[in-house]
Symmetry: C2
């Protein structure tokens, strides 16, 4: 995805699948120490740290900032290799290729401790898909075993999981348990009265990781920007293939970049603290696209929902899958849980699994209308006329302390 010589395309395969590090230093923006008396409203906790400090950290990881958009509660950095999201209480670092993602972790912890008065980690998650070219990785990323050892050396309450087929496509997850609440003392900011919204927000992340993209889906990403700037080219592309309208355009602030000779990245801010991010490696042989989003969407809309609302989970997955037309994909939903599992109603992960399956294995009404984009879901659609059918190859649900995970993988029939 980084700019390289055109002659290198065929020679050097690119590792699209990203390393994803997400660190929560507090339960919510309201829990950071300076939330009670902010110098600059919204710019508290990690968001008060200067950009140059993050750039020094990114030097260790081996990537550069290309662009940034600032939302009410979230800064979204577009990187030379994927994305960085900074909230007052949380940092998300997603990097692809042969970047040294985990080597940035000790520096991130030091920055949080020394520059944001956030000395403890509330929760940490590290995950990635199995690499296509593991032999090209460096440092701890040469093997999942080394990544786990690296993390276990930092955290004493981490659990590592291999999700899906060990001898096939799978997804790897490391997560720490919830930190014990710090003891209350009059010296800590926790002893002051809290605003009403201190209840932990529902945390929800969906990832759609796609491989073997169809030639028609890869084609738009293979042309390098010539007359247009990398950002203008990417913006036009995002609008033409429907990325800009996955969520209602009225609440989407899109920051996109087209690489030379090929490749694409975008961050989108949705509302005050929502985001989605898309990264595309379009070359045949190692084509890959990822979609990640933290905007909570309902598993299914009640019928009669207006089409300019946020999509439900099924519609969201269909919109993304139609854009990239993958031969294989995995879908994960990671959602905070309320531990109230004794009711016999469908759990969040089971509801999500039904939406995954409906999105990818049931007939799509769009296939029967003339003209893409005219269907009931009104989404950004370019390939709606193509008849595709997936079969599910794995369905796994996990329940962790405070979180639930739904994982499913699919491949073309």
């Amino acid at each position: 995805m980084t700019d390289t010589l055109a002659s290198d395309i065929a020679q050097a395969p690119f590792e699209g699948p990203e390393k994803l590090l997400e660190i929560w230093f507090a339960e919510s923006p309201a829990h950071v120490p300076d939330a009670v008396d902010p110098k600059d409203p919204g710019r508290t906790g990690l968001r008060a740290v200067p950009r140059s400090v993050w750039e020094d950290m990114l030097d260790i990881v081996k990537c550069k900032v290309l662009s940034v958009v600032e939302g009410a509660e979230l800064d979204a950095y577009l990187l030379s290799e994927s994305s960085l999201f900074i909230s007052p209480h949380r940092l998300i670092l997603k990097t692809c290729g042969t970047t040294l993602n985990l080597l940035g972790l000790p520096r991130i912890l030091a920055i949080a401790r020394e520059q944001a008065n956030l000395p403890t980690v509330h929760r940490c998650f590290y995950s990635r898909k199995s690499f296509m070219f593991p032999e090209r990785q460096h440092g701890p990323h040469r093997d999942w075993k080394y990544e786990v050892e690296f993390l276990d050396a930092i955290f004493d309450n981490g659990a590592a999981y291999t999700v899906g087929k060990m001898n096939g496509d799978h997804w790897l997850l490391y997560m720490t348990g919830a930190a014990a609440p710090p003891s209350r003392s009059s010296k800590t900011p926790r002893s002051v009265p809290r605003p009403l919204d201190l209840k932990e927000r529902t945390d929800s992340t969906i990832e759609i990781l796609m491989s073997d993209l169809a030639p028609d889906a890869r084609a738009p990403f293979l042309s390098a920007p010539t007359d247009l700037s990398p950002m203008e080219h990417a913006q036009a592309l995002s609008e033409s293939i429907g990325i800009a309208s996955i969520f209602p355009a009225s609440e989407t602030v899109l920051d996109a970049y087209s690489f030379t000779p090929c490749g694409y990245s975008s961050n989108a801010l949705i509302g005050s603290d929502g985001y989605f991010t898309i990264h595309v490696t379009p070359e045949a042989g190692w084509s890959y696209a990822s979609f990640e989003c933290n905007v909570p969407v309902p598993a299914a809309h009640a019928s009669g929902a207006v089409s300019d609302a946020r999509p439900d989970l099924k519609t969201l997955i269909r919109r993304v899958a139609r854009i990239f037309q993958p031969g294989r994909l995995s879908v994960t939903l990671f959602v905070s849980s309320d531990e109230d599992e004794d009711e016999d109603e469908l759990s969040a992960v089971e509801a999500a699994q039904k939406a995954f399956k409906a999105a990818l294995t049931l007939p799509d009404k769009l296939e029967h209308v003339n003209g893409a984009g005219e269907a009931e879901d009104g989404g950004g659609v370019v390939n709606g006329a193509q008849k595709v059918c997936y079969r599910r190859t794995d369905k796994i649900n996990y329940e962790f302390e405070g979180y639930e995970l739904a994982f499913a993988s699919f491949e073309l029939c």
Copy 2:
């Protein structure tokens, strides 16, 4: 568990956790070729193979037959290292220590092909808990990676899973997909009219794998048989600590063996084709006990169920956990599914998860009665007065083609 010098106990740790190989050569006993015209009713398919042939196979695996009980549809062999179960259509080989379980597989396939006219594998499952002493294993068992390579060289449709924490206790599973139905031809036995019960039976296996047994629970297994024979000693022990009454004694045929200097194994036939099997490694430092059972039990009895019926899942787990008092345990239920998942009712695995949790984390009424064995479940109980409490450390549900798996792990609070 094998007989060794008493002086060796402290020096040589024993690997209690078993390697479990289960091979289905047909969907049911009615699907084996000679089922339509049996020479000896009940003794069809694999059950028509002479014992000496299995013993030659067991020589490769490095274990010996100690005893056998024959049921209406099942032969249960007690081995020097665990158990072998032979049905007309299915073989289950469970071996512990440093046995070479998988090296028996090619011979088993040859025996089925050449001596039972069963040339194809319907499904194969191989599973084990993570080893305590992996460095003591031999051949493919030195690493899960090698075991998967060994199996992948034999099967072209196998999937391997790491279930639970990679960097902690976990359970490893390899399973093949359902074989494509063979094409019908007039030469195959499948072209003849089938009896009515050809519908695949519900297949259900529960395993309870227990570590760090309490001293009180280990003690009965540490005394070697002296005045009594190994089988008489084990039978008396089974009755005194409640193993003989996990299921109603009236339908339990128990075959048990006490090892010198210590250790215990038993097979039980329940009804015509049900079994349970228990293996105990009682030494401090590597104490371990396993319970495996294929008798389908309801997730929960309707209230008012009579106490001499088969236990429900919750009661079954409680009875086993009370006997062995483990510090850590995992519970798995592997059950064939009917693919009819669109109903909103609780799935079999979710119902099982509720039973697991209720059995191990909810207050046990037994604790409040005077005198063990007097409680409503009427089970074989010796340690009912002991107050124990577990917390769940993992809950994972898998849905495979034709099967579902519920996995949960627990540890003492």
